[in-house]
């Protein structure tokens, strides 16, 4: 029988590098059957509080997303705060933000898999799910921005009676291609390592769950040939999806950088956007891991302070890189002396939205640097939750500053006007609620921890005596 989360006694989290080796998941193995039971119990046992939150989210979605969007469709885009010169507002901010969030899954899962970072094993699935559901929100947000959403199919290149084809010269069309490639690829990439876990769930389920898992596990058993094909496909995906990930946010940045507007026409926008995506994505993984660990049974065994420590270090490095690109993006127009660029920089720092610009810098640089350098603090999940939230708010604001705030200052001063979002606010709340709802429901259907990967990793780890110390030794098994 699975061990209840409350009964799991973990070694002292502050034990440090030479503390109890059992603080590392890979050096604290349990029988596979027990780990399977722990993961399944976390999926099957659902509290009333869980359903209470689900009902709250469904109601929020009904009013804030479905209701508000229906109202906008019925009354037109005039109900938004979009008008000259800010034709792009919070819908585009949300699109860029959610695509950024979606980068974490690929980065954490694919890049760490390619680099053989063992620490990745228990939380790759949580990150991959974020990618898929983040992209759903990005898609919804861009559909909101379309206004006449029922004509969205005009983006699809197919012969039609209007003899109109999408313009492949346009960055927006490149974006459509890149995001669709990423949506399809990341969904398939989520499914591949899930297959053995679905087979495991099939073997231990009854009723409708048995039928469900039997169908989606496709008849997987774990023969040598099946593993070979699966590993080959996973290997191809792990390598191929990384450049696609980089391309997606680079192309998103070109939606802005290809326009000759103050604040947008920047050759550094591609890497600046990619690093921003990683900044928000890794911070979002911190939030998700905290929620999984604290709300799902038995997850304290799988998600440990060492994982927050690792992600904290990663977040610190990415935060430094973000600061570097931000400064690049700031310095060149400041030095260049173009009148409207200077006006825009002044507007950012001293205009009515200066407080959000300042928060962006505090949330993306000051707070991560002040906290994440300290190993003890990085190992405190509640503190990492706070850092994750602070960074994500700052990264949402970064996109807000880049899009509607920067659009305020055009080369035609008579058009200058402040952006005042209206129906965009409930719609934004709606997308966040939908993301949470999808994630919560998925956590009841999909094993949140890739148990087979954890077992594979635990088999590869041993302790070896070097002098008087015991050090971790890892065999390369995959």
């Amino acid at each position: 029988m699975a061990t209840m989360a409350e009964s799991i006694v973990l070694p002292d989290a502050s034990a440090g590098e030479h503390g109890d080796p059992r603080e590392h998941l890979m050096l604290d193995p349990r029988p596979r059957g027990e780990m399977n039971a722990m993961v399944l119990e976390s999926m099957h046992k659902t509290s009333k509080k869980f359903w209470g939150v689900v009902i709250f989210l469904v109601l929020t979605i009904a009013f804030a997303l479905v209701g508000a969007w229906g109202y906008m469709i019925a009354n037109g885009m005039g109900v938004t705060g979009l008008t000259r010169p800010e034709y792009w507002g919070i819908f585009i901010v949300n699109t860029v933000f959610w695509i950024g969030i979606s980068h974490a899954g690929t980065f954490i899962s694919a890049l760490l898999r390619v680099m053989k970072y063992e620490v990745r094993r228990p939380f790759t699935r949580a990150a991959e799910l974020m990618t898929t559901f983040g992209l759903v929100q990005a898609g919804i947000s861009i559909f909101m921005h379309l206004g006449r959403v029922w004509l969205a199919y005009w983006l699809v290149p197919y012969p039609n009676v209007r003899t109109l084809w999408p313009n492949f010269h346009s960055p927006l069309m490149w974006d459509f291609m890149a995001i669709n490639t990423y949506v399809i690829a990341s969904t398939m990439y989520l499914f591949l390592p899930l297959l053995p876990d679905l087979a495991m769930a099939r073997d231990r389920s009854t009723g409708w769950r048995k039928t469900f898992y039997r169908i989606i596990s496709l008849g997987f058993r774990g023969t040598e040939a099946e593993w070979k094909h699966l590993k080959a496909a996973m290997n191809i995906f792990a390598f191929a999806i990384i450049p696609v990930m980089f391309s997606v946010h680079t192309i998103v940045s070109w939606d802005f950088a290809m326009a000759t507007r103050p604040g947008w026409a920047s050759s550094v926008f591609g890497p600046y956007f990619v690093i921003g995506a990683l900044q928000s994505g890794i911070a979002a993984v911190l939030i998700v891991l905290f929620m999984i660990r604290s709300t799902m049974k038995n997850m304290k065994y799988f998600i440990r302070p060492e994982h927050f420590d690792f992600l904290g270090k990663l977040s610190l490095i990415v935060s430094m890189a973000w600061a570097y690109f931000f400064f690049n993006d700031y310095l060149v127009p400041w030095y260049g002396g173009d009148k409207f660029d200077k006006l825009l920089l002044d507007f950012h720092a001293h205009g009515p939205f200066a407080w959000v610009w300042v928060y962006m810098l505090i949330g993306n640089i000051v707070i991560p640097w002040a906290i994440l350098w300290n190993k003890k603090w990085r190992r405190k999940p509640w503190l990492m939750l706070i850092v994750g939230i602070v960074i994500n708010v700052a990264m949402w604001i970064e996109r807000f500053v880049i899009i509607p705030v920067s659009l305020t200052i055009t080369r035609m001063p008579f058009t200058w006007r402040l952006y005042h979002p209206s129906i965009e606010i409930p719609l934004t709340i709606g997308t966040f609620a939908l993301f949470m709802l999808l994630y919560m429901l998925a956590s009841r259907l999909i094993p949140m921890v890739p148990v087979w990967e954890v077992q594979e990793g635990q088999n590869a780890h041993t302790l070896r005596k070097v002098g008087k110390a015991e050090v971790t030794s890892v065999s390369e098994v995959d």
């Binding site: 029988p31 596979r32 059957g33 399977n36 290149p157 003899t163 109109l164 084809w165 313009n167 492949f168 010269h169 346009s170 490149w174 291609m177 890149a178 669709n180 490639t181 399809i184 690829a185 398939m188 990439y189 499914f191 591949l192 053995p196 087979a199 495991m200 099939r202 073997d203 231990r204 039997r214 169908i215 596990s217 496709l218 008849g219 997987f220 058993r221 774990g222 023969t223 040598e224 040939a225 593993w227 070979k228 094909h229 699966l230 590993k231 080959a232 496909a233 191809i236 995906f237 191929a240 999806i241 450049p243 696609v244 391309s247 192309i251 087979w452 077992q455 594979e456 098994v477 995959d478």
Partner: protein, 174 residues
């Protein structure tokens, strides 16, 4: 004439499994008559088995080529059929070819790698198969056919090498 049964031997670890595979070779069971089913992947080198080939990478390369062809159509075919004049740019622009080409090649590569898994692994497959749920609990199963009268010898040999159980199995719906 002796009946043929399918025997399934369950092992807790890879070392006794490998010894059992060697023993089965000695007892006349060829590699192509044996199946190893496990809850985590083991390489053929670890198991001492012949290399298993997979079509997935080759299919993926074919998909990448299809992606390139689609990209060429989007970049050269469509503007040829419906020319769009964008300020200062040629009708057949080269830089966007790299972008559309890259995305389509990657989509083709990964899409066919995914479909390749279905083709090569013959998924989905819901017909009855030899399997026991203990495999996804981390046990390693060695499955092989043997004659009815040889069953005790195989059972004794594998139990002495550390098998947790050896039993005849039939294919059943998973």
């Amino acid at each position: 004439m002796a009946e043929t049964v399918t025997l399934l031997a369950l092992f807790a670890d890879i070392d006794p499994t490998v010894k059992a595979i060697d023993k089965l070779h000695e007892m006349g069971i060829a590699d192509n008559k044996m199946d190893i089913i496990s809850g985590i992947p083991f390489s053929h080198e670890m198991l001492g088995r012949p290399k298993v080939s997979t079509l997935v990478p080759r299919l993926a390369m074919g998909g990448a080529m299809l992606g390139l062809i689609a990209a060429l159509f989007f970049i050269f075919g469509i503007p040829g059929l419906f020319p769009l004049h964008v300020g200062g740019q040629p009708v057949f622009p080269i830089p966007p070819l790299y972008i559309i080409g890259f995305e389509m090649i990657m989509l083709g590569l990964m899409g066919t790698a995914f479909l390749g898994l279905f083709l090569a692994g013959r998924f989905p497959s819901y017909e009855p198969k030899v399997y026991v749920p203990e495999i996804s609990d981390g046990k390693i199963a060695v499955v092989f056919p043997c004659s009815d009268e040889m069953q005790p010898q195989f059972t004794d040999a594998l139990m002495s090498l550390g098998a947790e159980q050896v039993r005849p199995v039939e294919a059943k719906t998973l």
